[in-house]
């Protein structure tokens, strides 16, 4: 199939491209490599990252191989509005953590992970819920990125799928292992520059290779009325709304984002997050347009596999030079995310597991660094093995997403409301996850009173999402009003309707149930937490080089 459908590079050309990419990246990290790294720099670059590098790193981390394929699939499936419903909400994930991120930084200026802050606030059980969900999420992300490398290499060259997986694993580990997060940030910058330059060239190149704007205009006749509608309800309900619900969950739950939040200089947080939001949106929506263009030209994806859309379009319409650039684009995107996942996991094991729970806030920095590097090696091995054997663990992503949805309110409430207790936090997360599973896998018949009750809980979850977003930018009073009005409005529309959209119903329920349980149990307690304790408990681990705040 490959030879007939896709352009084929020779083995030598692909190996040369991979060697140039990973070799160049490795050489770049030699600029920062020190004989003796310190733990705080290894995890968060001493909290001193500037605006340019911070924005580049945030954007590169958030763009993974699946972003291109997902946006193109969305464009091909839902038409005009498809790329927007993929890229816009993904971009807003970055933006919506920013107001909460400032609070996290204020409470714990020396933190390396969000788990450390939660440990100081509540203790081990809440912290380990956050840490374990992050590790699971990062392992899945690693597997997906290595799989994307294997698929790309096997489609565009005679090399095997496994060869692509192993080369990506070894390549990413080689440049991240010694300097950790520092290497990740520096290489993210170079990788993002390359990715953006390629995206800027490829999108117009495909359009003009197809015959220019007139071809697109002619292709409008191939679209269904829903696909031709910028405000398609089909696209909103099946693509946009589930993504919108996930906005806060992925931003709050993902250590790759919070690690950058703790690494950027405090006065640069706002421009960094805004720039990353715009950068991510522009690249991903832009590449999603290739899927839309495929739809407008009547192209069918090979074997019905939507992941073939972009490689197919590039192979069919562009010259080998552009195909080489596309190859680098995908390898760059998956590598930047994979190195961030390795850095995130190493920081979690170093700080959350060893620093807080084993060494009880008094770790040996040398041993800590060793643990961080060992984590990277083990994680890479697991990622490569899972990807090589094409193990179907994507179902786990459903649970990770649900877990992250269930922790959003408890995490945010814990940082603003002094009455939230450890019991409230833990119970809320467990209850949210449990109810999510019942709704998602339809463990009870979704009819009658039960379905109506679930829809009301989901409406409340929708109110929580919108209320939290309003709260982040406009304060408590506006947040409460928006949340209450949204929940009432959504309840009116949801009952009798939302039961047909199981994914959306279950995701919203995770928010709603965890919020109700968290508030309820917190109100039963009379204890009030002193937030100044967090700064005292969350410390730098390397006394030789204390962090300097801007």
């Amino acid at each position: 199939m490959n030879e007939e459908s896709f352009y084929q590079f020779s083995t030598l050309t692909v190996l040369a491209l991979l060697a140039a990419f990973y070799g160049g990246t490795y050489l770049l990290t030699l600029l920062i490599k020190k004989k003796k790294e310190n733990t705080d720099a290894f995890m968060v670059s001493n909290h001193q990252i500037g605006f340019g590098l911070g924005a580049a790193s945030m954007t590169a981390t958030w763009i993974w191989a699946a972003s291109f394929y997902g946006a193109a699939t969305s464009g091909y499936t839902y038409g005009i509005s498809g790329p927007l419903h993929y890229g816009l909400w993904g971009a807003l994930m970055i933006l919506f953590i920013y107001p909460f991120g400032r609070r996290f930084r204020k409470l714990a200026p020396n933190a390396h992970t969000l788990g450390e802050l939660i440990h100081a606030r509540h203790g081990s059980s809440s912290q380990l819920i956050l840490a374990s969900s992050n590790i699971l999420g990062s392992i899945i992300s690693l597997m997906v990125n290595f799989t994307a490398s294997g698929a790309l290499v096997s489609v565009l060259s005679p090399l095997s799928f496994q060869a692509g997986v192993v080369i990506a694993g070894v390549g990413v580990l080689s440049y991240t292992l010694w300097s950790g997060f520092r290497a990740s940030v520096l290489t993210d910058f170079a990788q993002l520059m390359a990715m953006m330059a390629v995206a800027i060239l490829i999108i117009p190149a495909v359009m003009f290779a197809l015959g220019g704007p007139q071809t697109l205009s002619d292709g409008m006749s191939l679209l269904t009325p829903e696909q031709a509608n910028l405000f398609s309800m089909d696209a909103i309900l099946n693509q946009g709304a589930p993504f919108f619900v996930a906005v806060l969950a992925y931003a709050i739950g993902n250590q790759t984002i919070s690690q950058r939040l703790f690494a950027v200089r405090e006065d640069h947080i706002k421009p960094t997050f805004i720039t990353a939001t715009i950068g991510y949106g522009a690249i991903v929506i832009g590449l999603g347009m290739i899927g839309l263009m495929a739809l407008m030209t009547g192209m069918e994806p090979i074997d019905g596999d939507m992941n073939n859309l972009i490689p197919q379009m590039v192979s069919m319409y562009l010259s080998p030079v552009f195909i080489g650039l596309f190859f680098i684009l995908v390898i760059g995107s998956l590598s930047s995310t994979a190195d961030s996942d390795l850095s995130a996991m190493s920081a979690i094991v170093m700080a959350d597991v060893y620093g807080k729970n084993i060494a009880k806030n008094n770790p040996d920095p040398t041993k800590m660094l060793f643990i961080g590097r060992l984590t990277m090696i083990v994680a890479t091995l697991i990622g490569v093995i899972l990807a090589s054997f094409s193990m179907d663990i994507l179902i786990m992503l459903v649970f990770v997403g649900a877990l992250w949805g269930a922790i959003v309110f408890p995490v945010i409430a814990s940082c603003f409301w002094n009455r939230v207790t450890n019991t409230a936090f833990t119970s809320a997360v467990i209850a949210g996850l449990l109810m999510f599973c019942i709704a998602r896998f339809e463990l009870v018949p979704m009819v009658g009173v039960i379905a109506g009750l679930f829809e009301l809980l989901a409406a409340m979850g929708g109110g929580v999402v919108l209320g939290l977003m309003a709260f982040g930018f406009c304060g408590r009073r506006v947040g409460l009003i928006v949340g209450a009005l949204s929940a009432i409005g959504l309840a009116f529309f949801s009952v009798g309707f939302l039961r047909d959209y199981t994914v959306l119903l279950a995701s919203l329920m995770a928010y709603g149930v965890s919020t109700i349980v968290c508030i309820g149990i917190s109100l039963l307690s009379s204890s009030k937490f002193d937030f100044t304790q967090i700064d005292q408990k969350v410390i730098n681990y390397d006394p030789a080089k204390p962090a300097t705040q801007a």
Binding site: I32, S45, Q48, I49, G50, F51, G52, L53, A55, A56, T59, I80, R182, V185, L186, F189, L192, M193, M196, A197, A199, I200, L201, I203, P204, M207, G212, P213, Q214, L216, S217, M220, T275, I278, G279, G281, A282, I283, I285, G286, M289, L292, M293
Partner: protein, 43 residues
Amino acid sequence: MQTFILALYVLIWPLISLAVLAIIGVATVKDIRVALLEKRELV
């Protein structure tokens, strides 16, 4: 008109990407200068 709007809808994203690329590039040069002035490492 439809042709123009469609072309704009597709091409606006690489244009925004170009603007962001320029902003990040300039900001990073500033980051390097500040790091050199403060005699500390860039990352």
